[in-house]
Symmetry: C2
Subunit: 134 residues, 2 copies
């Protein structure tokens, strides 16, 4: 069921500083920052040859990464995103296995314009997992 590793998302308190680390210190190709108010983040994409790293900074009042940064003020890896071909089939398989999907279980349109679901860290080795249909 599981396809490619699509991206690793790193929550950061200072997007400009984190972007400079990846662009200047590590020598990676980075995008311009993109504000995604409907997702409560501003994102910079770090383009690696086989996957992306996404640097996320909170945007707005109720950012979904605000609580994470309160606990880890220096930042840290927030979630990992895997690709699936059929997100509804994936959801049904996971629920049948007793795993929890975050929210109401209905896929939302994610930051790449594709249907996504988040899986509960308690059922996935302590890791917040995003599934994206590709």
């Amino acid at each position: 069921m599981l396809g490619r590793l699509n991206h690793v998302a790193i929550a950061v308190p200072d997007l400009a500083a984190a972007t400079a680390i990846y662009r200047d210190t590590l020598g990676a190709a980075v995008s311009q920052p993109q504000a995604l108010p409907e997702h409560g983040v501003t994102v910079v994409f770090v383009e690696l040859p086989n996957a992306k790293v996404e640097l996320l900074e909170p945007l707005g009042e109720a950012s979904p990464i605000a609580a994470f940064l309160e606990k880890s003020p220096s930042g840290g890896i927030h979630h990992i995103c895997y690709e699936v071909n059929d997100i509804l089939a994936a959801r049904d398989r996971l629920k049948a296995a007793g795993a929890r999907v975050v929210g109401d279980g209905e896929p939302k349109i994610g930051a790449h314009g594709k249907p996504v679901l988040f899986l509960h860290p308690k059922d996935f080795a302590g890791t917040l997992v995003e599934l994206e249909q590709v």
Copy 2:
């Protein structure tokens, strides 16, 4: 300088349980567990089409992931590994930029039999970064 995303390492308290999640619940291809006493971990490789996820369980008295699991008993993403072509050149560039390398700054032979270095989370957006020469 930065090449492919080689792997994401997830520290877990129960390797058999985490392996079952990835193999049975998520439907991924997983390796047999491999004890790496010189690295203080037992590892299961989750083989995705473009990258690996490594599930790490502490092994022995002084496992490098023991402190992490004390803070996060359910597990969590421990580090992210990027590939570089020349690890000594990478180290020198990072040190010149003022970034800290963990330990004495000399590459060690990592779990894949290749030279690796770990970079200090405080200088890399709160994230423990491994560089592996490929």
